[in-house]
Amino acid sequence: MIRNYIKTAWRNLIKNKFYSIINIVGLTAGLAIGILILFWVQDEFSFDGFHKDAKNIYRLELWGGTGASRQIWQATVYPIGVLAKQQLPEVEDVVRIGYNGDFASYRYHDKIFANDRVAYADPSFFSVFSFPIISGNANKPFNDDNSVVITKSTAQKYFGNDNPIGKVIIADNKQNFTVSGVVADFPENSSMQYDMIMPMSFNIKHMLAQKIDLSDNFDEYDCFTYLKLKPGTSLKALSAKLFNIHIKHHSADTDVAYLLLPLTKMHLYNADLTDRGITTVRVFLIVAILILIIACINYVNLSTARSMLRSKEISMRKIIGAAKSQLFMQFIVETALLFLLSAVFALVLIHFLMPVFNQLSGKQLIFDITDYHVWMVIVLTISGTLLASSIYPAILLSSFEPLKALKGKISSNIGDVMFRKILVVTQFVFSIMLIVGTIVITSQLSYIRSRQLGYDKSHTFSFPMRDMGNHYDAVRAELLKQPGVLDVTRSNQNIIQMNGISGETDWDGKAPGQTFIVHLMTIDKDFLSFFKMKMAAGKGFTGAVNDTSHLILNEAAVNQIGLKDPIGKRFQAWHIKGTIIGVMKDFHFASMREKISPAVFYYYPSYLGNMYIRTTGRDAPKAIQAAQTLFKQYNGEFPFSYTFLDEKFNDLYKGEQQEGTLFNYFATIAIGISCLGLLGLAAYTAQVRTREIGIRKVLGAGVSNVTIMLSYDFVKLVLIAIIIATPIAWYAMSKWLQDFAYRINIEWWMFLVAGLLAIVIAFITISFQAIKAAIANPIKSLRSE
């Protein structure tokens, strides 16, 4: 029986090549893209889920600050986790991870690497998390404070194939670390990504030498704390207990509130469970489903439309004894065969598209057919779409009344023309929404690029000077002589994205209990002129000795604390105290998603480690060469690495950029598949209406009349789709834009462009078939009746 079904199905496929190809191409494209997006979505959801105890591990975060500056801090103080483990039975274990910025380079014999993926961590790192230890002991990963555990590929990099255990890596030419363990490379879907892990105890000792006792320090918020809890622990109660511990040691922090973010959520959520990527994942999930639906609709539409042409076969089968259920099965098998073929093509297509998709999405997905997750996605997708596409046509076809069908009494109304029209409208609603999405995202991105940043970043590159910084004046003079170098200045960090933050602020007229967080940056005297920044009031630094007790605030800072006549007022941030000598006009030093934050600029020449060089653009390579030569002169073999500000700026919007590009492709594919379906329907309509067209032509209708007549019905559907899609797209994209502090308005022309595009593409698709039908000789079509 089943063999018979397959045979019939195959012959039907071969017989109707045109429709089979339309269906297979549409389904293949839909399945391939749908599955690719679902892989991406699945990968996002899989983050940090590989830890054996993932369900019981939480990252400790907290609400810090007050008023406008109240925000979630991901990093905590050092002692809180340890105290929690000592005092609270529900806390089974604790891991503290601190960023290791103490060393810039690591050397083994003649191999030197700069590396910033280095962390300090408690030994429990290897027992709480499930990063497999390849050699060494997971329960005792460090032999002493000067041990280091490195990843497999780091070992490879430093030692080749030699046994890394016991080898000594020298940090910054002064500190020895002995390799005591090798851990497998961190999986791609791990939020934590490190190359080397050093013992937290080293950090504590190191800081103690600088008179900072981290074990009793409630001011420094710079370590991540992970807690492994007993199953069933009440997070609310625990957070209250943690607050009590904190307040006992540091009674001033009454507004601190602890949050526990589940390990498996930290990739997509903030600690208060607001969006940190989950929205994008949901959007992509929806897009994948939309594309799959569009592909399914093609199949349903074509197979129900064409069911009329099969009515004779179906009736005959019924008359010679086919039961409804048997016919139903036959059509399911037919659909399944087509899907199976498309699925095979789709898998081949995915294989080839994967690298491109990875490049576009910035992921490292591997199409590994031995991974059951991969098959889960594939099987679920294919069976879901198969189910959605096969049942309705099968029911429709198997329920024909044989006698009527045989006599040709089943008019073109069978299978509900209305139903098909609704489906076509649905397809185009989805497509138009995606086109509008693409237009809005692209416009917003170009708006960000063209928006005045408040400073000039053109043709400028920057790099950390390291030891060259001690000879800054000489180096600057030397560089200015070089061709291609226009100007040179320095600061302590990169202007594109300022990271230094302090909450220890005080100023004249501060209300008691008021807290205020500012960004802090130290700049050279010529920094403002270098970047063509403007002052709103007062003056900049001159380089005079007393400038170290002068501060410049930005307008945002002045406005937020409501400081009147700021010039001459006293201000303190972190340990920088002084009088305000100027107010700088606001400039963007973070992503446009955020409003310009308060910032304070001070003058501390010894902190100025980051050099900026503005070039003519054309001679940039010469300028880079010159900078590199000088860099080597003072830093020896230490690797020289620079970034252009434009590049770093673009990096800020990498996510949005990728989203935009992907949307572009998704929209194209969606509209492409929709049009394939339209092409099939138009061809079918032309076929069914051949006789009518013939009669009209005999009566004197021209080619254009007939073409317009045939196209009108379809274009009407696209128009309806535009009307439906507009408010939905408007709503969705407004929500997307809300994430940007600086954003475009959604304009009516965006919908006009999307709609026109859809109509034009649809019309071109249809008119081919319409014109073909219109220019056919009417005698021929009438004779065949």
């Binding site: 018979n4 019939t8 017989k15 005959m316 008359i319 086919a322």
Partner: protein, 225 residues
């Protein structure tokens, strides 16, 4: 074998009823070969379809092989005709996508015969109709007469007691038509298959054992040959 009593079939057009079959009563004994004749629109095909249970009468009583057909549910009715009735059509109505062999085999598939059984039965039928050489051809590759032969083979494959033929020679030339009629006669005489055919041709009608003339949905005359 079958009995129709006061069977009517009408369509409601506005306030009036349009009768296609108007109060027909008819008894058919096993082994008969009946030809139904009459002008276009006299209700021949409708009557045949009602007998074959493809169409339902608007009123009247219908008995077949001891069953009360007008009281049966759809499923039981189709089980009944599957078992007892074979159909032959003027336009053959073979399934274009299937070969001669498969066309003949299909009814057996739907009646859940085993593969080996099917093979034997179809081979037997091909042999009997002398179309073994054509078994792998598709309908489009056959002449009209050959297609009708396949149509008859398909109707007979499951061993029906009653063969219903709606102008089986209507699309054939006279020589092909005659061959088909000879075949019917033989089936009726030698295999005891009851046959009811609708025909326009006086000559073909005379192959039968009884001729029924219809006019405007009524039996105008009936004559035993």
């Amino acid at each position: 074998m079958l009995s129709l009593q006061h069977i009517s079939k009408f369509y409601q057009v506005g306030g009036t009823r349009n009768f296609v079959i108007n109060d027909i009563s008819l008894e058919v004994e096993a082994g008969e070969f009946i030809s139904i004749m009459g002008p276009s629109g006299s209700g021949k095909s409708t009557l045949l379809n009602i007998i074959g249970m493809l169409d339902e009468p608007s009123s009247g009583y219908h008995y077949f092989a001891g069953e009360t057909v007008h009281q049966l549910k759809d499923k039981q009715r189709s089980a009944l005709y599957k078992k007892y009735i074979g159909f032959v059509f003027q336009a053959y109505h073979l399934i274009d996508e299937l070969t001669v062999y498969e066309n003949i085999e299909t009814p057996l598939i739907y009646q859940d015969f085993k593969s080996t059984e099917r093979k034997a039965m179809v081979a037997d039928m091909l042999d009997r109709f002398q179309i073994v050489g054509k078994k792998d051809l598709f309908p489009a590759q056959l002449s009209g007469g050959q297609q009708q032969l396949v149509g008859i083979a398909r109707a007979l494959i499951a061993g029906p007691k009653l063969l219903l033929a709606d102008e089986p020679t209507g699309n054939l030339n006279s020589k092909q038509g005659e061959e088909i009629m000879q075949l019917f006669k033989k089936l009726n005489k030698e295999d005891g298959v009851t046959i009811i055919q609708v025909t326009h041709s006086e000559k073909n009608a005379e192959y039968g054992s009884r001729i029924i003339n219809l006019l405007d949905g009524r039996i105008e005359s009936s004559k035993q040959l």
